[in-house]
Structure formats: C-alpha cells, structure tokens
C-alpha cells in the first residue's frame, strides 16, 4: 500500500523529478518507460492489495475458527477443500492473465522504443574510461569532428544515436531523465538512441560498477534548441585562442612543457595527449573531473594541485607545481572557453 503511495508521489512530480531521475519525463524513451512503469505500478499495487486482503481475512477467519474450535483439523476429508481447489485454479489463471497482459505491455513499449530509432540522428560516440567519459561528435568532414569530455549536448526534439565503446572495463551510460541505460563493454559496440523532448540540464552517471571511482563518474547532459546546439558546436570547433600575455601565457607554456600535455590535448596547440580528457574548451563546461566539481577557479586550482585528494585513485598524477605555476596553469585553463 504505502509502496503505491510513495512511488506514485514520485510520479506526481512528473517531469520535475530532479536532474537525475527515472521519474523525469524529458525524453521520449523516458516517457514511454515511465508510462509502462505506471501500468506495472498500479497493477502490482492492486495485486498486492488483493494479497493483503486475502491474508487479513484468512487471519480473522482463522482466529474465529480457533475461538469456536471450528475449522479443519488433521487430515481433512478430500471434499472439504473442494471449493479451495477451484479457487486455486481461478487464482492461477488470473495470475497468468495479468502476467500475460504485463508481458504484452512490455512488448508494445519495446516496439515503440524500436520505432523511435529512425530519421537522421545526431551521430555521437561515447567512450568509457576509468573514470571519465570521452565524447565525440562524428562528422563526414574530419575537421568538423568535435571531441569533448564529460559533457553531452543534445538538440531537443531530434534523435541522437550514441555509439558506445569502452577503453578499459565495463561502464554503463544512464541518463535517467531521457532513457534507460546501456552498457559500454570492451571489445563490443552497442548503441543507444536518445530522443530528448524538453530542454534542460540533466545528470548522467555510470551505472555499472567500474572500480575505485565508480561513484564519481558522472556526465553533464545539456538538452538545448537546435540553434543553441549549433552555436555550441561551432564554438567547440573553434580552437581556443593562444594567450598573448600575463599569467595565462605562462600557464600555456607550462601546460605545453610539463606533464599536462602528454595526457591532455588542447586543440590548436602541440598538446595532443589522448590518455585523458580533451581540455580544448574545459572552461566552457559546467563541471570538472567527470561531474565531481563545478568549474570554478578555486576548484580548478584544487584539482590540479592534488587530484588524489578530490577523487582518490583517479589516474591523474599530482604534478609538482609551485604556487605561482599553479596559478598560471589555472589562469590558462580558465581562458579555454
């Protein structure tokens, strides 16, 4: 009973079920599944009520039998249970019917989900790493291919086909507000079609245990208008300006000459490491370290200063930098809008 209330309460919230909620109805898949969930919820709730009622009456009747020393004892005569046998058959039949109904509902939803996978979608490739997301927007023209990390921008009302790969262990991409999850399995290629119906900012999180920092492997999802999406993509294609002076310039040369550049890449500079997230427009992202911290000056500095304190066990080493150097690198990264 209280189950029914509690969860339907969640559903009463409808779309506003938080930025990482399966109760959110911000994508077509999400809504379809949400609808199916409600069907299941109310059916099972009804079944549960029936069982509780059955139990309650059984207890009452039993108690009365006890008081009046009535009811059946020992080996009841075969005919004593006849109507119960009929009851059992009816009950079994009913159960089977309900389950059949739910199976069909499932199957219909599945069909609807499959249908959704048409028209010319945005082609995106998401590659799982311990513990961050690499995101690529494919384009026939290589120079128009966008490479980013830990953020996913989607145009509203249009399909996005996401090709899922893993670079190490099994991860699982889950944007609950938009759709169900899909595993990223090394040596295999899966895909997931999203059809966002509302603009907004959502949070995705790795949903398959992937090691030490499974808890801090989130993905920042932005659903925006086609126009905004276009603008964002254009901005991503523009290499960030090389600083002309000040701390930023110092930071730039430090970034290139020190360990940073052997793992990270920044478009339009010699830094071309592929081991770690692409930082070309890191300052334009809402979060750093795979959704661990909001992108602020202080957080950037703290993260570069001692990554292991922020996200213990992640693969970014603690690069020895002086206060000044740290400030410079941070300043440079902040220019990467």
């Amino acid at each position: 009973m209280k189950r029914a209330f509690a969860i339907s309460a969640v559903f009463a919230l409808g779309g506003c079920g938080g930025i990482q909620s399966a109760a959110g109805r911000d994508g077509m898949e999400g809504s379809l599944i949400g609808g199916l969930f409600e069907v299941f919820l109310w059916t099972t709730a009804a079944v549960y009520l029936f069982v509780l009622a059955y139990l309650a009456i059984a207890l009452v009747r039993g108690r009365r039998h006890r008081r009046e020393a009535a009811g059946l004892q020992g080996q009841p005569p075969p005919d004593a249970d006849r109507k119960w046998r009929t009851g059992l058959i009816v009950f079994t039949g009913a159960t089977a019917l309900i389950l059949a109904g739910l199976t069909i509902a499932t199957w219909l939803t599945d069909r609807a989900l499959a249908k959704a996978e048409q028209d010319s979608p945005v082609e995106i490739e998401v590659i799982g790493h311990q513990w961050w997301w690499e995101v690529r927007y494919d384009d026939p023209i290589p120079s128009r291919m966008v490479r980013t990390a830990n953020e996913l921008h989607l145009p509203v009302g249009r399909n996005a086909r996401i090709t899922l790969k893993s670079n190490d262990v099994i991860h699982s991409l889950w944007v609950p507000n938009l759709a169900g999850k899909q595993d990223l399995i090394p040596g295999r290629i899966a895909d997931l079609v999203l059809h966002p119906e509302r603009t907004g900012v959502f949070r995705a999180q790795c949903a398959e245990f992937c090691g030490l920092q499974h808890a801090k492997m989130a993905l920042d999802v932005t659903v925006e208008s086609e126009a905004d999406f276009g603008r964002w993509k254009a901005a991503q294609l523009r290499p960030p300006p090389v600083p002309t002076g000040g701390g930023a310039l110092a930071g730039y040369s430090l970034f290139q000459s020190r360990q940073c550049s052997s793992c990270h890449a920044i478009a339009g500079t010699p830094a071309s490491g592929m081991v770690a997230p692409d930082l070309s427009h890191v300052a334009s992202r809402r979060t750093i370290a795979a959704g661990t911290l909001p992108t602020t000056h202080a957080n950037l500095a703290a993260w570069i200063d001692d990554p292991q304190a922020v996200k213990p066990g992640n693969n970014m080493p603690e690069v020895p930098l002086t206060e000044a150097e740290l400030g410079a690198v941070t300043a440079y990264l902040e220019t990467l809008k």
Partner: protein
C-alpha cells in the same frame, strides 16, 4: 576364505530388545567420541548440522556489520567515513558473505540436521562427505575473512564482472581470494547436495512414499538437484577467471578472441538459480510451520510440490534478465521477460495454499507463524518488484540502482531470512531441548518487521530517483539525503532487532523451559523422537502410513537393525519399501585431513599453478585413506542371496 555365518551372532533391536537397554546400546554405538577429538571426528548429521548452522549465523553477523558500515557511510551526502577502496571491499564482502557464506550454507545446515529426522532414519547418506563439506565451507569462509582483515579483501562486487575483476584491472590477490573462496563453497555445497539427494531418495522410513514426504524434504530434494546443475557453472567461471589471472589464458580477453560476456553468462546461469536455492528451502519452512500451527494438513500438497519443481526448472531459464543492459539481441529478451514473469506463478500458488490453510485451519499465532505472516507481507512486495524488473524497458531504467537493491533485500530477507528465523524458533526445542522465549520472540519479530521496511522501502524510491548501486558517496542536492538517512536509521533498529533474536537464542539455550518431544503438537517424524534427539535418532525405525504420522494414535515401527554396528536401512526410491541394510561409517578424522589437504592445494594454487600438481598428492592420499575400508566393530555378514 569364507567367514563363518552365525545367524544369532548379532544383537538387533526388536520386541525382545527395546526401551532403556536398547537406548544404552544404541547410544554407545552411535554417539560421537569424547572431547575435541570426538568433536573433530564426528559424522553425526546433528553435530555437523549444528556447527554448520552456528558458523552460518556467525557469518550473518559479520555480513550485517559490513552492512551497518555501508549505511553509516551513505547516511549523508559526501560523507568521508570510509574511503572508496575500503568501501568497495566492504560491499563486495557483504554480498559475497551473505550469498556464499550465509544464505546457502544456512539452508544446508537446516537440511542436514532436519532431513534424516523428518524421513525417519539414523544418519545421512555419505555422512563423511557432510563432515568434509563443513570443513571446506569453514576453510573458504576463513580464507575470505582473513584476507579481508589483511586488506586483501575482494573489491569487484559479489559478481566480479570481468574485465574489472580480470588480471589487468584488479591487481594483487584480492580477486584470486574471491574466486578460490567460490571454489571452496561450491565443493561444500555440491557435497551436501549429493549427500542429501541420496539420503532423501534411499533412506526414507518404510512407507514414506515420495507422495508422503514432508514439503520441506521436497523443497530440499529440488534444491539439491538445482545445486548439482547450477554450481558447476560458477565453479567453471571462477576457474577460468583464476586461470586468466594466474597463467594468462585468454577466456575473457576480447583482444585475443575472448569475451567478457562469457563470464556474465556462466555466472548468472548459476546466479539466478542461486536465488531459488535460497528461497525454496524457506518455502519449505513456511509449509511446515503453517501445517504445525494451523493443526491441519497444508492445503494443496500436490500443487505445492509441483510449484517447487516448476520453480526449479524455470529458474534455469531466466539468467539473461540480469544482462538486459548488455545489448544482446532484443528478440531474445522477450523470451526471458516471459520466463521471468512466469516464475512468479508457482510462487503465487504456494502463497495461495498457505493462506488457504490458515483460513480454513485453527491458526495459533505464536512466533513462528508471526514470521510467516511477516514473510507474506514482505516477500510479496519483493516478488512484485521482481515482476517489474522482468520487463526489459523498466529494467533498463532501474537496473543497477537502489531499486534493485530494495528488490532483492525484500526477496532474500523477507523471503528467506524471515522464514528462517521462524524455522529456528520452531525447531529450536528439537535442536536444544529448550523452548525459545515467546515474549522476547514477539518483540524481536515486530521490531525487525517494522525496521526492515523502514530500512529497505525507501531504497525503491532512491532507485527511481536515480541513485546507482555500489557508490561509496553521492553529491549533495540530488534529493537522496533524506531517504538515505531514514534507511540508515532503520538499519540501526534492524540490527538491534536481529540482536534481540540472538539474545533470545542464547538465553533460551541456558534457561529456556524444557521442551517435550512434540511441544507444538506438530505432525512430522522429527517430533517422534526426544528433544534433543539421541545420537541414533530412532530406537526403532518408524513406519509411515500418511502425510501426518504424528497425528495418528498408533506408532508402528520396523525393527531388526544391528545395534552393535552402525547399520542403516536402504529403501526403494518411490515406494520406500525396505530393501537393503548397509553399514554407516564410524567417526573419522579423514574428512578433516582431506579438507586440510585441499585447502593447502587451493590456497597455494593462488600463488603458483604447480601447487595443483604437487598439492594433488596429499589430497589423493587423504582420500584413499578415507575410503580405505575400516573394519566394522564386528565381522561383516556374508552375502545372503
């Protein structure tokens, strides 16, 4: 050379030899030796069952402590009580301990103790195999926990998915310990399964046809067969994992034509039946308790038996519903959805029958029956959320979230632990000769029932609100804090209530009121003998004429077994017609020695493959010594035909 035959050379129980003198003689023949040595050498199913039970409960406590630690860490956002490395070890240890070291062994324990009593025989078939099984189980459990204490605790989750659990991403020995612990517990479980199957099929009292077996015995028969068909799968899986990690085989390496999903198939082909291996014995408890406390034969005996068998079969057809998110062909999913839903039908049938029995009988609302009521109220929620999870699209949303955590705790605690606690209360007088306190029992029941729901119900909502499993921390502002806090508080109370149950056990053990042979006026043969039973269980083997022998007035018995040697009756499989008299082994330390040798082999093989070859020698030696025929106390009879 032909030993001389003297037809009157052997003393047998019978009309001329019964009562006290017989009791003395049989006790002398069947009792364990004195002292520690006697304890070690015991092959008595009661001793083995008892130590199995105690050990399993100890592991339950340990697993519970880990659960408490996790709830502590998750009680609020961004808590830093436990770091990621330790936390991952803790939830892995919790799952592994509860599944491999508590849930399955505790059911084995109850079966080893109760089945021979319920079917009216003096010991299990292959009792030394049971002794061996216990030592292997203990060794596996100790291996895992000692490793954990030494910071070598497995940290890849209780289902150790590769490649995370593989050689590259799990450095050190942590996963080897996990995999080897699986080997230990598989060997143990399989040994018990073999012993129980043979016991149930060949050692039933005269007249106890298959159609007259107690429902608990039926459930154990089904479960034993399920173990036999499912455990080899996980044993293979963990074997391949070990060889990948230790000698560089490529089974799970996708770059050398291996595949990580192979692991998931092998693991879940065992992992799903496992759930029913845990649940079916619990269903058996419920059937027995309901029958005893309503005073009428459980309604729908045949239906329940068929339901047990159906569950056992269907259980092997649904493992893929653990893999809906891996992107296997959609078409196949439909089948597994249907199968997963279908498996709830037999369970529904059983629940219908139990409630019908309560409805039509004269229920006495004592603690065991209360646990049954709590079981129905709780387990049905778990079953229904299971139906939701069977639906692919819904599963894709809530898979690997706290919704699933809630689901399987409703199923495993509500469906298996509640009946278990009821069963312990119910059979406690038979185990110990003393009753458990009814008052403390009621308090314990209500407290655990309520706190259980407070702890686990919120998890459904957490899951729907997007909280994934197995995260050691979560950011503030996700709307998860309140629910987690409620859950953590509930966990504290729940732990306390389980503590109350344990206290009740210990107190009652000391000064509970003395129990008569059949304190509940129950119907099963286990109540035909004294509480606790004598080493030989039955002075004369009872003869069974219907389902509820203890509710009849007359007590027909079979007699004529030798009393100076451990001799047992073998009867026919279906009709249980007396067929052969076979000797039963005397106490021996060889099972322990064999287990020790195997332990050395298994543990050493985590460090070098050669241990398998070299270690095989002492194992073989121990086994040969074990099976080398020992002389019976008296010269064996020659063949009669």
């Amino acid at each position: 050379m032909k030993p001389e035959y003297d037809p009157d050379g052997y003393r047998r129980d019978g009309p001329d030899f019964t009562g006290e003198p017989l009791h003395a003689k049989l006790t002398e023949t069947w009792r364990d030796g004195p002292g520690l040595l006697g304890w070690i050498r015991s092959v008595d199913h009661k001793s083995i069952g008892r130590r199995y039970l105690v050990t399993a409960l100890v592991f339950l406590a340990l697993g519970g402590v880990l659960a408490a630690l996790m709830r502590l860490q998750l009680s609020g956002a961004e808590r830093e009580i436990i770091g990621p490395d330790r936390y991952n070890q803790i939830f892995t240890m919790h799952g592994t301990t509860m599944m491999f070291l508590f849930a399955v062994p505790v059911m084995d324990a109850m079966a080893i103790y109760l089945v021979p009593l319920m079917i009216g025989t003096r010991n299990t078939a292959f009792p030394r195999l049971n002794a061996f099984s216990y030592w292997m189980y203990l060794a596996g459990g100790l291996l895992l926990w000692i490793a954990f204490v030494l910071n070598v605790g497995p940290d890849a989750g209780w289902f150790s998915y590769v490649p995370l659990a593989g050689p590259e991403f799990s450095p050190g020995k942590r996963i080897d310990v996990w995999a080897q612990m699986v080997t230990f517990t598989e060997v143990a479980a399989l040994a018990v399964a073999v012993s129980l199957t043979a016991t149930i099929l060949k050692k039933r009292a005269p007249g106890m046809t298959l159609a007259r077996m107690p429902l608990f015995v039926w459930s154990i028969l089904v479960v034993s067969l399920m173990v036999i068909f499912s455990m080899p799968s996980v044993a293979t899986a963990s074997g391949l994992l070990l060889s990948d990690r230790l000698v560089g085989t490529q089974f799970y390496n996708s770059y050398e034509f291996g595949d990580s999903l192979l692991w998931q198939h092998l693991f879940w082909f065992f992992g799903h039946p496992e759930v029913y291996i845990i649940f079916l014995p619990a269903a058996g408890f419920v059937s027995e308790i309901v029958q005893a406390f309503t005073g009428r034969r459980t309604f729908g005996y045949t239906a329940i038996v068929l339901a047990l068998i159906a569950t056992g079969l269907l259980a092997f057809g649904l493992w893929v519903h653990h893999m809906f998110a891996t992107g296997l062909p959609r078409l196949g999913y439909a089948f597994y959805t249907a199968a997963s839903m279908a498996v709830s039908i037999p369970t529904g049938i059983q629940i219908f029958c139990w409630l019908a029995t309560i409805w039509t009988g004269r229920p006495r609302f004592m603690v065991p029956l209360l646990w049954v009521v709590g079981f129905v109220v709780t387990f049905v929620i778990g079953g229904l959320s299971g139906v939701m999870l069977a639906s692919v699209p819904i599963d894709l949303q809530v898979h690997d979230t706290y919704f699933v955590v809630a689901h399987f705790h409703y199923v495993l605690i509500g469906g298996a632990v509640f009946p278990l606690l009821g069963a312990i209360t119910y059979w406690f007088p038979k185990f110990t000769g003393r009753m458990m306190s009814e008052r403390l029992g009621k308090v314990g029941f209500w407290l655990s029932f309520l706190s259980f729901h407070a702890t686990f119900f919120p998890m459904h909502i957490m899951g729907i609100e997007g909280m994934p499993r197995r995260i050691y921390t979560y950011p503030a502002g996700m709307g998860w804090e309140t629910l987690n806090l409620i859950s953590s508080l509930g966990a504290v109370v729940f732990a306390t209530s389980v503590g109350i149950f344990v206290v009740n056990m210990l107190l009652s053990l000391r000064k509970g009121e003395r129990a008569p042979d059949n304190p509940w006026n129950a119907s099963g043969l286990e109540w035909a003998t004294s509480s606790p039973p004598p080493p030989y269980n039955f002075a004369h083997l009872p003869i069974v004429q219907d389902h509820t022998p203890m509710w009849n007035d007359e007590r027909p018995v079979a007699y004529g077994l030798r009393v100076e040697d451990r001799e047992m009756l073998i009867s026919t499989v279906i009709e249980a017609v007396p067929d052969v008299r076979e000797p039963s082994p005397n106490p021996t330390a060889w099972p322990l020695i064999a287990a020790a040798a195997s332990t050395v082999l298994f543990v050493a093989s985590m460090f070098t493959p050669w241990a398998v070859v070299i270690g095989a020698v002492p194992v073989a030696a121990a086994l040969i010594a074990w099976f080398w025929p020992k002389d019976m106390n008296h010269e064996g009879e020659p063949v009669i035909e």
